[in-house]
């Protein structure tokens, strides 16, 4: 084995790859070779560090120097100064890690973004090379599988998972141990399957992708443990085709596991045999629903089936099937290694462990965070997320994607777990957490999610196929300024009916974005309907551009930019906009140097 005096970890997650980390790695290799350092310094491409907004990210060990937003042209300086002469290039460090007035850099664990986090599912992301099974084994990888196969009965494994209190991370929060028990008890004389739901279709959610990109072996190990516990010998991972990096790393990981005898026949010298296959999704959101996912693996249109029978009894090809989400599986090896009590101590009374959130939207530190259940929304948004940029005000946080709801500012102190989110009309969902500021229109957001569900409804049941379409039409009527007060009541009634009568989870939860915005932001709906006004200035039909005479200096820039000549006035006195002529293109507002024009 080679020893290196320094390790450079470069993030190779989708976020950093998109901002050019492959070029960074290539340049590093060139520069290291040019300085004859390529033998003593090792460059490793890891999974996601979480701080996607600051990508590309690279960390140099042993110092732990955290360089952010690295450009290829910076590499020469880092190699020559830091790696050759041992002087950290402070200018390029993530500013939060630089202590004031001292040459020392702060440990990452002291940085606000990481301080409150607790990494279980993301434990190895940004730490190991996901394409090298030995690095995974080096951090106790496959130890849990070894322990299970050589010293535990399937019943004991299920008992541990049950005692840990782990609940499904895909969103609904069903107790994982129970699911395992039901599948184990089902008659498997004709075969049994385990499956992994990696069809992360929630817009704005990328937790599962990051786990698969950063730590694919953890999922393989967990699925093998699950297969042993329930008595299956074949597994499927159903993953979105939109995640090419995750798919390729998973393929590499499966091949390596087979090569090392960790998949295949007689694993760890026991009688246990298990193998895995990947199935690619093809861009249908409904396939994240468990029965639709299985129909899709079988090669058909991904339409859901009524439950019961549940997959634990009749799943893939009518055989008992255990289906868990990626993040759920990612917790399993840790639970086996550290024990149920360890896991049980983390979190709240009814929600144990941690949850990974994809933090996005109007927030400073967009990225991936993992926090213990029970962390407040305020801690996530303000401390970890760094608050709202540009001095804007927090308006709402959306969790649960198209199935969830918007949480208003007055509920920021809520401790996040499955039950608390449900009680306020949202849901945990898979973990997307989108922050919205005062410039986001809540009616428009409800419309955005409805457009999504209308588009993604599979069409099998009428409440979802027709009902969501009717809801969308009402929302379009409201945002275009033709709404009547009765429409709000109609919307509410329709929403309740769809919730009661739709076939699957997609339809049953589709009205949630509308219901939760109606609950907390009803005034905005009323403003759209009664006052024909969009308070956030988003809905085009309701925009009214005006010039504030107090702020206007009469410079005439707006009048010159207006494409339809709707603005007039005399130099050095306030200008006015002719509403009749105005086409609401927004150019005047963009160009005004004094911010005198508003559209609200």
């Amino acid at each position: 084995m080679d020893f290196a005096r320094a390790h450079i970890l470069v993030c190779g997650g989708t976020g950093c790859t998109s901002s050019g980390s492959q070029k960074i790695i290539d340049t590093l290799h060139e520069e290291l070779a040019a300085h004859g350092l390529d033998k003593e310094i090792k460059v490793i491409r890891t999974g996601c560090f979480g701080l996607c907004a600051l990508g590309p990210i690279m960390v140099v060990y042993p110092e732990g120097a955290f360089y952010s937003m690295v450009k290829p042209e910076d590499i020469k300086e880092i190699v020559e100064e830091h790696l050759l002469k041992g002087r950290i290039v402070t200018r390029l460090l993530y500013e939060e890690t630089v202590s004031d007035g001292s040459a020392e850099t702060k440990s990452l664990n002291d940085v606000d973004f990481y301080k409150k986090q607790m990494r279980i599912a993301l434990r190895n992301c940004g730490v190991i090379d996901p394409e090298n099974i030995e690095e995974y084994i080096g951090v106790d990888g496959y130890a849990a599988l070894g322990k299970v196969l050589t010293s535990m009965t399937p019943e004991e494994v299920i008992e541990v998972v049950k005692a840990s209190g782990l609940r499904g991370r895909g969103g609904a929060g069903f107790p994982t141990g129970m699911k395992w028990m039901f599948t184990a008890r089902a008659d498997g004389s004709n075969g049994k399957y385990v499956a992994c739901n990696a069809d992360e279709g929630d817009p704005g959610a990328f937790m599962d992708r990051s786990v698969l990109e950063g730590d694919p072996h953890a999922i393989i190990e967990a699925m093998a443990i699950a297969a042993y516990a329930v008595g299956a010998d074949q597994g499927y991972i159903y993953i979105r085709a939109e995640y090419p990096i995750a798919v390729s790393r998973l393929r590499i990981a499966i091949d390596q596991a087979r090569e090392y005898g960790l998949l295949g026949k007689n694993i760890f010298g026991t009688d246990f045999c298990f193998d895995l296959d990947i199935r690619l999704g093809a861009g249908a959101f409904v396939c994240g629903e468990e029965t639709a996912l299985m129909t899709s693996i079988e090669g058909h249109r991904g339409e859901p089936r009524p439950r019961p029978p549940f997959p634990a009894n009749k799943g893939l090809w009518q055989k008992p099937t255990l289906l868990n989400n990626v993040e759920t599986y990612a917790n399993i090896p840790q639970i086996i290694n550290n024990g149920a009590e360890w896991f049980n101590k983390i979190g709240t009374e009814k929600s144990k462990g941690t949850k990974v959130f994809a933090l996005g939207g109007k927030i400073k530190n967009t990225g991936l965070v993992e926090v213990p259940m029970g962390t407040t929304l305020r801690e996530i948004v303000e401390e970890i997320g760094g608050g709202i940029p540009n001095g804007k005000k927090f308006k709402a946080a959306q969790t649960g994607g198209p199935s969830g709801g918007c949480i208003p500012a007055e509920l920021l102190d809520i401790e996040i777990d499955y039950d608390s989110l449900m009680s306020i009309g949202s849901m945990m969902g898979s973990g997307g957490l989108i922050v919205m500021d005062e410039d986001t229109c809540m009616v428009d957001i409800a419309k955005f999610f409805l457009e999504f569900t209308v588009d993604e409804s599979c069409g099998k049941c009428s409440p979802c196929r027709i009902g969501t379409k009717r809801m969308l039409e009402i929302l379009e009527k409201i945002t275009s300024g033709r709404g009547e007060m009765e429409d709000i009541d109609r919307l509410e009634e329709l929403a309740e009916n769809i919730k009661q009568s739709a076939l699957c989870g997609l339809g049953q939860t589709a009205p949630n974005p509308v219901l939760s915005t109606l609950r907390y932001f009803r005034n905005e709906y009323i403003a759209h309907v009664r006052d024909k006004r969009c308070p956030a200035g988003v809905c085009k039909a309701l925009m009214a551009y005006t010039i504030d005479p107090e702020k206007c200096k009469g410079c005439s820039i707006c009048a010159k930019q207006c494409p339809v000549g709707a603005i007039s006035g005399e130099i050095k006195s306030p200008f006015v906009i002719d509403r009749e002529k105005c086409i609401k293109c927004g150019v005047c507002m963009e160009k005004c140097p004094f911010k005198a024009i508003s559209n609200k």
Binding site: T14, G15, T17, S18, S19, L51, C52, A53, G55, E200, G201, D202, P203, G204, A205, F206, R209, A241, E242, Y243, R279, L280, G281, A282, G283, A284, F285, S296, I297, E298, G299, H300, R301, G302, W317, A358, G360, G361, K362, T366, G367, Q398, G401, G432, I434, M436, T440, I445, F448, F449, C458
Partner: protein
């Protein structure tokens, strides 16, 4: 409904040989249709009727069912795509950061709507679901190139590169 422009099938013998190899590989796999369609689309760029017919004959799956599966999944296309495939992310994170305006700008610039292709076959445009690069919102991709933190005025310069 918009009028469908028929594009003459121009598959080559090599492509067909490749397709038959793919079918052979999956023939005895349970649920073979979707993996076969994925690889067939990689070979041809889209899934014309002629290709569906070969798959139907070989896998013994009726044409109607194949058509049903193709039209169910948004990633499968019955129409050829442009040389450069533009995808604008309309995931929530991108949407709240204004990706709708980016899409409008591209539509105006190229004179095409979503799922359409420019007449010269150079660009095709799609609005996609989240590609998972939410840290860079709003995001668009052109083939494998990713452009993040976009402003509508960036669009012209980016398109000019192709």
């Amino acid at each position: 409904m918009k009028e469908q422009v028929y594009v003459a099938f121009s598959g080559t013998k090599e492509q067909e040989a490749e397709l038959r190899k793919v079918i052979e590989k999956y023939k005895n796999t349970d649920g073979a249709l979707i993996p076969v369609l994925h690889e067939a689309q990689d070979i041809y760029g889209y899934l014309p009727e002629e290709v569906q017919q070969i798959i139907s004959d070989e896998l013994h799956i009726p044409m109607a069912e194949i058509y049903g599966v193709i039209t169910f999944y948004t990633q499968f296309s019955l129409k050829p795509k442009g040389k450069y495939k533009i995808s604008v992310c309309l995931g929530t994170a991108c949407y709240v950061k204004g990706s709708g305006n980016i899409l409008d700008r591209i539509k105006a610039k190229l004179g095409i709507s979503e799922t359409e292709c420019t007449e010269d076959g150079k660009f095709s445009l799609d609005a996609t679901r989240c590609i998972g690069a939410c840290g860079l919102a709003p995001v668009m991709t052109i083939n494998d190139d990713v452009y993040g933190k976009l402003m509508p005025e960036d669009v012209d310069d980016i398109l000019a590169k192709y």
